[in-house]
Symmetry: C2
Subunit: 234 residues, 2 copies
Amino acid sequence: MNAAPLTPAVLAGSDLFRGLPARGTGEALRQASLVTHTRGTRIFSQGAPVKHAHLLLRGRVKIVQSNAQGEQVIVRLIRPGETFGTLGLYVDGLYPAEAVALSEATEARWHAGTFTGLVQKYPEIALNLVRLVCERLQEAQARLREMSTERVEQRVANALLRFAVREKAPERGGLRLPLSRRDIAELAGTTMYTASRVLTAWQRAGIASSGRANVTILRPDALAAISSGRPSSQ
Amino acid sequence: MNAAPLTPAVLAGSDLFRGLPARGTGEALRQASLVTHTRGTRIFSQGAPVKHAHLLLRGRVKIVQSNAQGEQVIVRLIRPGETFGTLGLYVDGLYPAEAVALSEATEARWHAGTFTGLVQKYPEIALNLVRLVCERLQEAQARLREMSTERVEQRVANALLRFAVREKAPERGGLRLPLSRRDIAELAGTTMYTASRVLTAWQRAGIASSGRANVTILRPDALAAISSGRPSSQ
DNA sequence: CGACGAATTGATCTGCATCAACACAGGTGG
DNA sequence: CCACCTGTGTTGATGCAGATCAATTCGTCG
């Protein structure tokens, strides 16, 4: 909510700088700048030149890809400690998608040149990067399989579970996600109408409860059952 | 077809070993083994421990992911010079998908430990790996968008074009791809029935010609028009 | 309060999956 | 050399999940 939460310990706990010698986190720290965005802010745009590498410190960010007709898909949701906006650095120098803050969000960023310098200087970062991108590619491939073999209800369940996994402290009474119906639709590859119907059914079944631009997971076990295709186990 | 086609020049021309000092390609060469597979052979299985890193030298290979019900999706098609089977090395040590030879195929392979040793010894390989995985992630994300925003005919066109791009020498009379109707269906996220109907229509329109377990692209321009959503431009 | 974006919910439509029946090629073995 | 079998492909008929359209309500904020 307030002053800069950026410390060497935070960097050491991020996915990208894990395992870096103290000298490295110190250097990265000095070269970073901190930026805070309000909900709904576009952090970078699809097709724009990559100016920075980004590390989310607080809040939630969605990565959205659009086609020529403006139809959108959320390709990834970012939580604190995760890196984003670095793909384009190693391909064509352009952001392949846009980033939008889902809630008030604070990020650390490095200028592109500074960042690639760090990667070359500290091989741990390069290996972390390989691991990260491999994990994401696996996730993307799993989603590809889902999109062509599973039905909408399963895909919505998957989308929520995937985001919920690794959440720190489940709040009493459920896990609250800052996702609108449209967000959920773009995660699951459906329409907001269908997403709304699915959530209404889950509301009645006591599986999840939803409000304006947010969803609360009440029974992750039931969601897992739905996601794996078993007909809702009571 | 015959003797080992593995030379330092071949390695230097591959996506993974590009830019490596001669010392490195020599070392990689000495540690590689060559394996040839007949059409239809399963090169590795989904969920099995990663034993090798693979580099395709000749032929075509598909990477297929299955769910619990056995429904399949082709997540990638491999052409000569491309690396495959390395994702799992950096995640959980298991192959996330299976690899099947689409035609007679020859690969070079390295034991997992040998390979990661090479990667650590030669930082060029690590950077190549980052670049490669980033490119594939971009492709996977583009496919995700397609799957949820485009119709079957566009997706089939995309699937063929994506495979056709970068093909060396277009044969006289068209580009022949060793893909069955089922393969095309699993690339486009549809059924072989629908894939067959689409190809029949294209056959009539002179856009593509298909036979048993193969398709020939006759008019890439027409495919591109379809893929971008324009109603078939004559 | 007024206005606008988010969500709901019923009615209707349709793209494509599914099912079924058949055709054809190639390989295998008697 | 033929009979058979299995994998591959085609094509018509039918059904349905979910998209689309339309109308209304709700929440939030200026």
